[in-house]
């Protein structure tokens, strides 16, 4: 039987707490950094197994570095495209 997983992203680290947001929406999750099996860092993409009741098993979270790189590269490429719209210099609105 395939284990159900949910993808989360570490939105930010606030002291000893990590704020995570799920790819499929919902309220951000705020949990102690120590709840994760590795040192969490901002922008990490995590695959998190769910238990039978749909609750995330944070201690079994795995980092998805490939997806993380893909998203960051996609973001960088988009920003390069957007910079072509920049009027340059000082701007008067």
């Amino acid at each position: 039987m395939t284990e159900t997983r949910r993808w989360y992203v570490v939105d930010r680290i606030e002291g000893d707490r990590a704020v995570l947001v799920a790819d499929d929406g919902g309220e951000p999750v705020d949990l102690p950094v120590a709840s994760l099996p590795f040192q969490a860092r901002e922008a990490m993409v995590l695959a998190v197994p769910l238990d039978g009741n749909g609750r995330p098993q944070w201690a079994r979270a795995e980092r998805d570095e490939g997806e993380e790189r893909r998203r960051l590269n996609e973001g960088k490429a988009r920003l390069e495209r957007l910079k072509r719209r920049d009027p340059g210099g000082d701007v008067s609105l």
Binding site: D11, R17, E42, D86
Partner: protein
């Protein structure tokens, strides 16, 4: 009379002299700041965690267009409300810190920015003229390894009145901003919701704020604002305002450097404190 009723009745424009109006919106744990020039140009800097918190406030304030939207950095408590604003309001230009995030919310926001065709204004060292108000951009620290330390800074100037916004910049980026040259200011938004990692004695000494505004949610889990940080600010500031206690905070700045701070008490009565123009501190 509540803040919103006062706005509807137009009673907030008591003085005859032109003024820049800066409203720190109470969006809970997050930032959202609206800057309005005397000639009606508007910039929104960040939009808190969720669109609904900001949208209603902008509607009541009669904001139907934004000349500039600035996402100081891509954390959710700053950009979470932006997608709905971009979707619903005409936006004339968009600026962010140029550092991608991996959240769905960031990617959807950038989908909208790209799809809408809005001019993108990179956060380089440049000045944005917003009607009679100038916004000097403090570019993100090039060596930043996280979003906070890659925040866009803005020096808002209207004549001798100056205000400084630094997103969630922490000590390392504040040092970088100081190296770029930061003026003394009338109003300073406390960095990173009043966290201790976003202020130094040197920062406060250099900026010498007369008023500090902390945009922060009540009962947040992060201990914001930090009591030690508040003590640093209190060394120079005559007053510290907090959105968790004061709600919406309106700053009205005039060209001679004088300004007023208005909040509303629980009964909705406006409480205005006037800060006269002073010689350089």
């Amino acid at each position: 009379m509540t803040f919103w009723a006062a706005l509807l009745l137009g009673t907030l424009t008591a003085a005859d002299t032109p003024a820049v109006a800066i409203t720190f919106l109470d969006v809970g744990q997050g930032d959202a700041t609206l800057i309005e020039s005397p000639d009606g140009k508007r910039a929104l800097v960040d939009a808190g965690r969720a669109t609904w918190r900001v949208r209603e406030k902008l509607q009541v304030m009669g904001v139907d267009t934004l000349d500039l939207v600035v996402a100081t950095h891509a954390d959710m408590d700053h950009i979470g409300g932006l997608d709905g604003i971009l979707y619903e309001l005409p936006i004339r230009s968009y600026m962010d810190n140029g550092v991608p995030h991996t959240t769905r919310e960031y990617r959807e926001l950038m989908d909208l920015v790209e799809w809408s065709g809005v001019p993108y204004v990179a956060a380089t060292a440049r000045t944005i003229t917003l009607g009679d108000v100038s916004l000097r951009v403090l570019p993100p620290w090039p060596e930043a390894r996280d979003q906070n330390n890659a925040s866009v800074g803005l020096v808002v100037e209207f004549g001798a009145f100056r205000m400084l916004l630094t997103g969630d910049a922490e000590r390392e980026e504040l040092r970088y901003f100081l190296s770029l040259g930061v003026p003394t200011v009338a109003v300073l938004k406390a960095g990173h919701h009043g966290a201790l990692n976003a202020v130094t004695p040197g920062w406060v000494q250099a900026t010498k704020p007369r008023v500090v505004v902390v945009s922060v949610g009540a009962g947040n889990a992060y201990g914001h604002p930090d009591p030690m940080a508040l003590r640093y600010y209190a060394r120079y500031a005559d007053a510290i305002y907090r959105t968790d206690r004061d709600g919406e905070i309106l700053i009205t700045g005039r060209q001679d450097g004088s300004f007023e701070v208005t909040t509303w008490d629980e009964a909705g009565k406006p409480l205005t404190r006037t800060f006269p123009a002073v010689e350089a501190r």
